[in-house]
């Protein structure tokens, strides 16, 4: 195995620094391993890449010189030259964030995602300081219950396709889908069919904004107030790795942790939301 891997190694340069990576590995991952974080929204290491958000654009040298390309879609190759820090990349990132924010509500203070929100964090790191958008934002009824557990706020949604991809590819029940076109594209359930997946909670965890929220955690705590400890889920014998989070001396949330040999970050809804039994008034013992 080890000889195979060393044969398969390629050398590329990122921002002038030479790094080694596995041939065929995605540039966004190879860069991260080498300590260069490329911002992203739609990219998730456990989902097939779609290249939709365009946040991960970097300059890559091709036959016609450097051009902007999505690093989540590009396998590394020998002698590849990549620039992640330049005026051109900065302008592209600024532009994408500005586009994402024009229709995104400024309700961070009341949003459950605030404090652990990739959109909020990456706007602070990479985004423009001010908005030039002076028009009316896009409006949807907010939030709507798409199942007994999950609420959907389409105004916050940035159409990254993470939840819909998860439902389709990982959970295997595509009960949520994109509807409509253009800037009126919305994620929603099909008529009269709730998001009754056994794995619906994962979509809440991977949503890069506060578009999907789960009933047990809604308005219960702020991320920076949570204490947490790593553990194993006890709902069945699988032993999924979890992060147990608590606030004010009570359990507030379980998050799936990415354990390569067990659960890849995913949890079933029974495991994820079963903690409510612990402090339930109906509990007998």
């Amino acid at each position: 195995m080890s000889t195979d891997e060393s044969q398969n190694l390629v050398t590329l340069s990122i921002d002038g620094k030479e790094i080694n990576a596995k041939g065929g590995e995605l540039l966004i991952e190879a860069a991260e391993k080498a300590g260069v974080f490329i911002p992203r929204f739609c990219y998730h290491n456990r989902l097939p890449q779609v290249g939709m958000c365009r946040m991960c654009l970097v300059e890559v040298k091709g036959p016609r010189g450097f051009s902007l390309q999505p690093s989540c879609y590009l396998p590394v190759s020998e002698a590849m030259e990549v620039i992640t820090q330049s005026e051109k990349v900065k302008k592209a990132q600024d532009g994408i964030l500005e586009f994402l924010l024009i229709n995104h509500p400024l309700d961070c203070p009341t949003c459950d995602k605030g404090g652990e929100c990739p959109l909020q964090d990456q706007t602070l790191t990479y985004g423009p300081g001010e908005s030039r958008f002076a028009e009316e934002k896009r409006h949807w009824e907010k939030p709507i219950a798409i199942s007994e557990l999950v609420f959907l706020d389409r105004e916050r949604c940035i159409q990254c396709d993470r939840c819909t991809r998860f439902a389709d590819v990982v959970a295997g029940d595509a009960l949520i889908e994109f509807i409509g076109r253009g800037d009126h594209t919305e994620v929603n359930v099909f008529p009269d069919r709730p998001f009754s997946s056994y794995f619906s909670g994962n979509t809440v965890q991977i949503c890069p904004v506060g578009a999907l929220t789960a009933t047990p955690y809604r308005f219960k705590a702020r991320p920076w107030d949570l204490s947490q400890v790593e553990s194993s889920c006890m709902a069945c014998s699988m032993g999924c790795r979890i992060m147990v989070q608590s606030s004010q001396n009570g359990l507030t949330r379980y998050l799936g942790l990415d354990s390569d040999s067990v659960n890849h970050g995913w949890l079933c809804d029974k495991g994820r939301f079963g903690f409510e039994a612990v402090n339930s008034a109906d509990r007998e013992s």
Partner: protein, 432 residues
């Protein structure tokens, strides 16, 4: 009188029926190809013709075919999802000469070794769908489609699929997704060019209706005869869909580069000029995705490279004439609104950018714009297609994104004064 290729039969009564088509030499090219030529020879003729794809991108048809990965299962898809505003050339061909399309498709299927061919037709073409389907049925009964065609040993099936009303499904990879029964989202290229991974994962050639309709003529008369028409890379004839402020809008098949924009617009046999006392303000030369050209470019010949050198594109061959009574701001806004509605919503710059630019343009047209809005629009356009160059530098998944700035940037560059009048007088000075 110049040679007509694709429109040779369109004015004959009942030209859509098999009997009329056979009377006028129909299916002779298919017989010739299947019985007298090898697939390679057909490909060679088409390559020799130098025909550029008639869909919009203008890629050489023969070269495209030669790029097809030689897997066991290969498909041919005919793109008839003609939905570019002002483009109505394929509309004429599918309604008035569907057998020519079917024959061209079958010859191409033979040439590239396709096991099945699909015609994806715009869903709004009600009559076209009816006529292509009955042409397919007639051709099956005649023995031109199906098993062992004309005793040649070659078999192929031809399937008609109506679109469901999305502009984006004219983009070849979105069309393939739609044909597979999925949402019309364009695929990311590279690496998945249809010639390598196309329909159902198999190598696929996607060609336009007009391209297919030229193939029977090329097989009959030879690629050299086709290449003898036109000049440079622009060989053969093209069907120009002329619309806008001309007296005689319509489809005109012309030998490429044989006429100039001015001749097409003013010749009494073609556009017939403008209304009394009016002059050309701008021309959109290749569908609304193309940057505008000014009256100073009217003497450009109607050729692929000639228009490209002027900073625009011949695209789908649809030419819109805007006269001096047209508001450039309103025209650009309406085109942006189209792109906003038709953006598939997949990637951020196109989805969000189109809506934002549309809103600003509408505001300017209504009279509540400011001068800084113009720079803002240009910068937002730059964020969709960096550099605002044509051909575009792409940051989006498909070319719909970079098409959005075309009209807006053209309008601002060519008619900045007019924008300023809207801004200063707080309204549109034109009568609508």
């Amino acid at each position: 009188m110049s040679t007509k290729i694709v429109t040779a039969r369109v004015d004959i009564p009942n030209s859509h029926t098999l009997s009329v088509y056979l009377e006028h030499g129909g299916y002779q090219s298919l017989r010739k190809a299947l019985l007298e030529m090898t697939p390679e020879q057909v490909q060679e003729e088409v390559t020799a013709s130098g025909m550029l794809g008639r869909g919009g991108a203008g890629f050489e048809t023969g070269r495209k075919w030669s790029m097809l990965k030689q897997d066991l299962v290969r498909y041919l898809v005919v793109n008839g999802d003609e939905s570019e505003p002002s483009t109505f050339k394929d509309h004429l061909l599918v309604e008035n000469d569907p057998h020519q399309l079917v024959e061209g498709t079958l010859i191409t299927a033979y040439a590239i070794g396709a096991s099945r061919a699909f015609i994806y037709l715009r869903g709004e073409f009600a009559l076209g769908l009816e006529r292509v389907q009955s042409a397919i049925n007639e051709a099956y009964a005649y023995g031109a489609i199906g098993r062992n065609i004309f005793g040649s040993g070659f078999s192929v099936d031809l399937v008609l699929q109506p679109g469901a009303g999305a502009y984006i499904c004219g983009e070849e990879t979105a069309l393939i997704e739609s044909l597979e029964g999925k949402r019309g989202f364009p695929r990311i290229k590279p690496p998945y060019f249809p010639a390598v991974i196309g329909l159902y994962g198999a190598p696929t050639i996607v060609n336009n209706v007009e391209t297919m309709s030229n193939v029977p003529w090329i097989v009959k008369n030879g690629g050299q005869a086709f290449a003898a028409m036109g000049k440079g890379r622009s060989t053969g004839t093209r069907l120009f869909a002329l619309s806008g402020d001309v007296m005689r809008p319509g489809n005109y098949e012309l030998e490429m580069t044989s006429k100039t924009f001015r001749e097409l617009i003013y010749d009494p046999d073609f556009g017939g000029g403008l209304k009394e006392g009016r002059s050309v303000k701008a021309v959109i030369p290749g569908g609304v995705s193309a940057p505008w050209i000014g009256p100073d470019n009217l003497d450009l010949p109607l050729g692929q490279d000639e228009v490209a050198q002027a900073g625009s594109m011949l695209g789908s061959g649809s030419i819109i004439v805007l006269d001096d009574h047209t508001c450039a701001v309103r025209a650009a806004w309406r085109i942006t609104r189209f792109f906003n509605r038709e953006s598939c919503g997949q990637c951020t710059p196109c989805r969000e950018g189109s809506g934002w630019i549309e809103k600003i343009m509408h505001r300017i047209e209504l009279g509540s714009g400011t001068e800084s809005d113009l720079d803002l629009v240009l910068d937002a356009c730059d964020n969709i297609a960096p550099g605002l160059t044509w051909p575009p530098q792409q940051t989006t998944i498909c070319v719909l994104g970079p098409s959005i700035p075309s009209s807006v940037v053209s309008a601002i560059k060519m008619f900045r004064d007019e924008f300023m009048v809207h801004i200063k007088e707080e309204g549109c000075p034109f009568v609508h």
